[in-house]
């Protein structure tokens, strides 16, 4: 601000600035919070991904992150997330529809919705140990089945591999699907079905031409959310398999907080960057789907 600025203009500007500050003051804690816990770490991860241990810029980490065991871990992570997202989405959608078809104040509905809220957040080490206690090699169910003459481990089942992780993930994916997909189902108006019926549509035609197209965007959006949910999970898989199944978060864990491999933190950051890119793509697609969905459900 120079000395020539007329007083009136200066006062006007000051007033506007004050108004702006007051209007946005409430945002400051949020900005500081996201800055510290989201912004700064992301910047550090991205910078670190492109540096070697001496701080010199390089793309070696990025190339290494997509080769050999790290490339495989991305493939495995994506495969696991996609598989459990599809399973969770399909089974969860069916369950949500079944629950909605039941009585509005019925006991089934209450139980399923509250159980979903709890189970969707049941994860990490406790969940892994719950499964080990149930289906592990000395688990209750395993032993009971053995007592009945059916040895599930002898017939090829194993909790401590890809299949095992997938089963455990589906356990929390289904309830999450029920939670995120139920509002979309509730948005379906009874009148649409009646109108279709009045015009002579069969049940199949109603699902094929009306309910299906309306529900597809929210269904796909929910599935993407499930994908992101599984993609970032770490503790459950680690507690269950001690890293035998190579997932990206587990590889990052070995690199940044291990006892065996020294000096590879920046490679871990490069893997982290890869995860950020995958999740960002998924979330961009999710938002786009959500916008399409809200056109119908608004």
């Amino acid at each position: 601000m120079t000395a020539e600025t007329p007083t009136a203009v200066r006062v006007g500007m000051a007033r506007r600035a004050t108004a702006w500050v007051t209007a946005h003051l409430g945002l400051v804690p949020f900005l500081v919070y996201t800055g510290v816990f989201l912004g700064a770490p992301v910047v550090m991860v991205v910078l670190g991904a492109f540096q070697d241990n001496d701080g010199v810029f390089t793309t070696d980490n990025i190339t290494a992150a997509f080769k050999d065991q790290f490339g495989r871990s991305f493939a495995t992570s994506i495969e696991l997330s996609a598989l459990t997202a599809v399973l969770g989405a399909v089974l969860g959608a069916v369950l949500a529809q079944a629950v909605l078809a039941s009585k509005e104040d019925g006991i089934l509905r209450k139980v399923v919705s509250s159980a979903s809220g709890v189970l969707a957040n049941f994860g990490g080490v406790p969940l892994a140990f719950a499964f080990i206690a149930t289906l592990g090699s000395i688990g209750i169910v395993t032993k009971a089945l053995k007592g009945l003459g059916f040895d599930i481990y002898a017939s090829g089942f194993n909790l401590f591999n890809f299949t095992g992780i997938a089963i455990v993930y589906v356990y929390f994916q289904i309830p999450l699907m029920v939670i995120v997909f139920t509002p979309a189902l509730e948005g379906m108006r009874e009148q649409w079905r009646e109108a279709a019926a009045n015009l002579g549509a069969t049940k199949w035609q109603y699902w094929r031409h009306i309910a299906g197209p309306i529900l597809l965007p929210p269904f796909l959006a929910s599935m993407l959310l499930l994908f992101a949910n599984a993609f970032s999970a770490y503790a459950t898989a680690y507690a269950l398999t001690s890293g035998v199944v190579p997932l990206v978060p587990i590889q990052i864990g070995s690199l940044v907080s291990g006892n065996v491999v020294a000096d590879q933190q920046n490679l871990g950051k490069a893997l982290g960057l890869g995860m950020i890119v995958v999740v960002a793509l998924v979330m961009a697609f999710y938002n786009w789907m959500q916008r399409r969905a809200s056109r119908w459900l608004g």
Partner: protein, 377 residues
């Protein structure tokens, strides 16, 4: 749009200011205690008494990643506190070597930065190369074999052990004595490692030992990976990370781990589980951890006193009591100062013991990192 941008910029500026405020400002925390930070031996400070005096003036010691049931660290910490009246702050007891290095780098200049470190070999070497360690020679430095210390004293081996097979005597009436035994069908779903060998040093050592037992060598760890792949295929291996908790709950009736960790479990579970430890006859593998002082230790005198304590007869005997093998063990037994009861309790080891070189270990780690998940997944 511009305004929104301005808001974001302001937000970031605030964050940066806050962060830099956290980073700086506390440099004053490192008190100067008469040149302790640069002392390369107690003599530099005018003898052990002067070192004790300086350490008492600091009054505190920060340690990191020392689990109490690991090589008897619980008792060692207690003894040190009692002897010198210092307050010991323990951070991240379950932390890894990498966590320790990260803490040194990230907490530099702060009161709560670690003073002393207990590192895996590769980490000690790289930390010394990066100039993170303070060279220091304890009074008994000459007792340590040359191969087990940095010539400048940046790091010195402190204690080591053997890869051993631990088992619950109640659940495993016919105990395995070798890696070959572990393949027997009677151990189905019973054999565990201490975690993921790409992450846990003890598990890595377990695979190395298995390699030695199966025709491999220090330059060829692949037979070890193959051994566990076979064990997994037959259903004997369960990839649950063994710990005192899994041992107690019965999930891991047989574990392959350092003998001193197994001894820790046995002590912790005394009266509940009869946990026995034996070094396998076919794969004898031993390795040592390294003790070091952080160059930026906030309590440099206390850090040096801790080293003197660990390498004194008293400290070494405390390691021995935890069934780990202190680095001066040969000197202690020769001088007759070793705790005879603890010595008798060590698992028996047959045959000559050799150590891999650091280059061999590094090469083996690369193979493990690339092959483990592929073979076991």
């Amino acid at each position: 749009m511009n305004r929104r941008l301005a808001g974001i910029v302001a937000g970031i500026a605030t964050v940066t200011l806050t962060l830099s405020a956290c980073g700086g400002g506390s440099d004053a925390a490192a008190k100067d205690t008469g040149g302790a930070a640069t002392a390369k031996s107690a003599a530099d400070l005018g003898g052990l008494d002067k070192l004790i005096e300086a350490a008492k003036k600091e009054g505190e010691l920060n340690v990191i990643a020392l689990p109490h049931d690991w090589a008897n660290y619980g008792e060692i910490l207690e003894a040190f506190k009692k002897k010198y009246g210092l307050k010991v702050t323990e951070a991240n007891p379950e932390g890894s070597s990498q966590d320790e290095i990260s803490a040194v780098k990230q907490l530099k200049g702060q009161d709560r930065a670690p003073d002393v470190l207990d590192l895996g070999g590769a980490f000690a070497l790289s930390a010394a190369k990066d100039g993170l360690l303070a060279p220091y020679k304890v009074a008994t430095f000459a007792d340590v074999p040359d191969a087990q210390k940095d010539p400048e004293g940046n790091w010195v081996n402190d204690y080591g052990g053997f890869i051993s097979i631990g088992y619950d005597a109640a659940k495993v009436p016919n105990p395995p004595k070798s890696f070959a035994d572990l393949k027997k069908p009677e151990y189905q779903g019973k054999v565990a490692l201490n975690g993921d060998p790409t992450k846990a040093g003890a598990a890595f050592a377990g695979v190395y030992a298995a390699a030695l037992a199966n025709g491999g060598s220090f330059t060829d760890i692949k037979p070890g990976i193959q051994f566990f792949a076979d064990l997994k295929k037959s259903g004997n291996f369960i990839p649950v990370q063994a710990s005192a908790a899994t041992v107690e709950s019965g999930q891991t009736p047989i574990t392959i781990d350092w003998d001193y960790l197994q001894a820790g479990y046995a002590k912790k579970l005394q009266g509940k589980i009869d946990w026995k430890v034996a070094v396998p006859t076919d794969g004898v593998y031993s390795n040592f951890y390294c003790q070091a002082i952080s160059k930026t230790a906030p309590h440099p005198a206390a850090a040096r006193l801790w080293q003197e304590f660990l390498y004194s007869d008293e400290g070494q005997n405390l390691f021995l009591k935890g069934l780990s093998r202190p680095v001066r063990l040969n000197k202690l037994t020769a001088a007759g100062t070793a705790d005879s009861a603890a010595l008798a309790a060590l698992p028996e080891v047959k045959g000559e013991v050799k150590f891999p070189t650091n280059d061999q270990i590094d090469a083996a780690k690369k193979v493990i990192a690339d092959e483990w998940a592929k073979a076991l997944g």
